[in-house]
């Protein structure tokens, strides 16, 4: 029996329709078009109807929080897998974004719909500026330094008792309506997801991937890699700041807990589960991890144990992530062949 099992192996072959839809030929028939559009539309439509099918007021809020994590996770995935900067500073982006939007709203009286975009851009610029000295660092060194930034900011606010100190900033306006609050974040996730996916496939994205592969060769090609890295960090940190700004207006409060490690670690876990380097994977990962973490609340402190077990199982058995697995099943069929 054992030898019989050894003499066959699983063979994976691209589906005919996958090959046909690789080029322009995809436009030739509805079937092929549908094959291309189906996964994308499942994601878009699914995300849009998710709050409608969720019961009560509690679960739609969980979806909003999941989307906020999804934005941070996308920014992590973009930086780590397309630029080669592994940033553990997701919380830094979130915190800066939420504080900026809160200050703009409470001190300057800007309405949330203006404060959020302003905080996104200004926060992105601020984060890029303070990360600028770290850009020559690579690999684990960049990771460690970026891990410091949120801790540094939290202690700074606590010790100097600025911008509300340990109490945080209260009395932030919420979004004008519940619909905007619910769908604003979802639409932003979709825009940033498809926008980033497009960006990494342009020539600009290609240069970023080249910086990840081999920065010396990019230098030798006459390009200023610091400029490219700074642009990439701006895009990623603006994404994170947007998440933070939305968070401030959803909770109507912000505080040093926005600099907490959760915002750095959970997005990374979501990226591992969803599939790194796919950009969609992190979104899926967040849509799974955040609700699961809410469901596990019933178990009290045991929650972390279950949570860790799920993560462990994914890392060990599906280290390439859900997205890579799904893609394989969708694009290829498998069969056993005798050797």
């Amino acid at each position: 029996m054992n030898t019989a099992a050894q003499q066959r192996r699983k063979e994976r072959i691209d589906r005919g329709i996958k090959v046909r839809t690789d080029g322009l030929y995809a436009l030739m028939s509805w079937r092929e078009l549908a094959y291309l559009i189906a996964p994308r539309s499942i994601l878009i439509v699914g995300l849009l109807i998710l709050p409608l099918v969720m019961p009560g007021r509690y679960w739609p809020r969980v979806i909003s929080i999941a989307c906020i994590y999804a934005l941070v996770a996308m920014s992590f995935d973009f930086l780590a897998h397309y630029v080669g900067l592994v940033s553990l500073g997701g919380a830094f982006f979130v915190g800066i974004g939420s504080y900026l939007s809160a200050i703009l709203n409470t001190s300057l009286g800007l309405p949330p719909l203006i404060a959020v975009p302003v905080a996104t851009l200004a926060g992105g610029a601020f984060c890029t500026l303070v990360l600028l000295p770290c850009l020559p660092l690579r690999g684990v060194y960049f990771a460690i330094v970026t891990l410091m930034y949120p801790l540094f900011m939290a202690r700074l606010i606590e010790a100097l008792d600025i911008v509300g100190g340990t109490d945080g900033i209260m009395g932030i306006d919420s979004f004008p309506s519940a619909w905007i609050e619910q769908y604003g974040v979802i639409v932003m996730v979709l825009i940033f997801l498809f926008g980033l996916r497009r960006l990494v496939n342009t020539d600009f994205g290609l240069v970023l991937r080249a910086v990840k592969d081999n920065d010396q060769a990019v230098k030798a090609s006459g390009m200023n890699i610091t400029r490219y890295k700074a642009l990439a960090v701006f895009i990623a940190s603006a994404t994170g700041c947007l998440a933070g700004a939305c968070l401030a207006h959803i909770y109507m409060w912000t505080g040093i807990s926005t600099f907490a490690l959760d915002f750095s670690i959970l997005p990374i876990a979501a990226t591992v589960i969803g599939g790194s380097g796919t950009l969609v994977g992190p979104v899926l990962g967040c849509l799974i991890l955040v609700p699961v973490s809410e469901l596990l609340r019933d178990f009290g402190t045991l929650r972390i144990v279950f949570y860790s077990l799920i993560l462990l199982a994914f890392v060990v058995f599906r280290s390439d992530g859900l997205m890579a697995y799904g893609q394989r099943k969708y694009d290829q069929f498998e069969r056993w062949t005798k050797i």
């Binding site: 290609l206 060769a217 230098k219 030798a220 006459g222």
Partner: protein, 262 residues
């Protein structure tokens, strides 16, 4: 055939801690010539390339390109002026398809300014232009080779890709750090005409080599480095006749082989 000096290196010294990698090395490169730099292992050949192209900063001394000082400028600025280099240990973008490797230099400010081989953008997108360059450098356009992932390509193609990356910038000068090393005899034989054509196109070359016979075949002038110091400079015959060079290379097979052919 050769013109006025375009690159001048004056008294360049580089020390790593207490080790003197380069000791007051001076030389000039004339427009349109091929200067060969040879020397035993550890004699500072690659260090001089790094000092010229800005990848490391010289401890003291000056480098002038077209009479303007380029000492201490960052690598991308020097490449932008038209002084390009290949790496001894090839540095392609392994995860990208081979032809995409050239899209990156074609995105650079210099390539955009010089029109990067037919403009890139207006007369055809960068992908088309990069396939054109690859054809010039010896990849067959209609084969699958340019489209393969770079990590699957053999050394010979990677060396060509290094040269192609320089060519994409429309350089004035290419500094080749051992383009022949690691290649088979037939691969080298097919590279030599390529180097000669680059010279005919008006590109000045500095070639660092261990393959002396092929180097002597293409180069106009030879400079010998040993222990970070310039030993001699001159034609291949002059250099090889020098007793100090013989001493530096004492026992080396290469030199005896070359001497017997000379």
């Amino acid at each position: 055939m050769t013109g006025e000096p375009i690159l001048q290196i004056k008294e360049v010294t580089k020390t790593f801690g207490g080790i003197i990698a380069l000791n007051r090395v001076s030389f000039e490169v004339n427009r349109g010539e091929i200067l060969g730099i040879i020397g035993p292992n550890g004699s500072g050949k690659t260090t001089i390339v790094n000092c010229i192209t800005g990848f490391i900063k010289a401890t003291s001394g000056h480098v002038y390109f077209h009479g303007k000082e380029i000492t201490g400028k960052p690598p991308h600025k020097i490449a932008d002026l038209g002084v390009t280099r290949t790496f001894q240990i090839m540095r392609p973008y392994y995860s990208l398809p081979a032809y995409k490797n050239l899209v990156i230099p074609l995105c650079s400010p210099r390539a955009r300014r010089t029109g990067g081989w037919r403009g890139g953008g207006r007369l055809g997108d960068r992908n088309t232009v990069s396939i054109d360059i690859m054809e010039e450098i010896g990849f067959e356009r209609d084969s699958y080779v340019p489209y393969k992932t770079t990590s699957t390509l053999p050394t010979g193609y990677l060396k060509r890709l290094e040269l192609a990356r320089c060519l994409a910038l429309k350089p004035e000068m290419i500094i080749c750090d051992e383009v022949f090393s690691g290649l088979s005899m037939s691969e080298i034989a097919s590279m030599v005409p390529l180097i000669e054509r680059l010279q005919m196109d008006g590109i000045t070359l500095i070639m660092i080599e261990h393959r002396l016979r092929e180097l002597f075949q293409v180069s106009n002038r030879i400079m010998v480095l040993n222990f970070g110091e310039k030993l001699v400079e001159g034609s291949a015959e002059e250099v090889m006749a020098d007793p100090r060079v013989k001493e530096a290379y004492f026992g080396s097979e290469d030199i005896e082989e070359v001497m017997s052919h000379a």
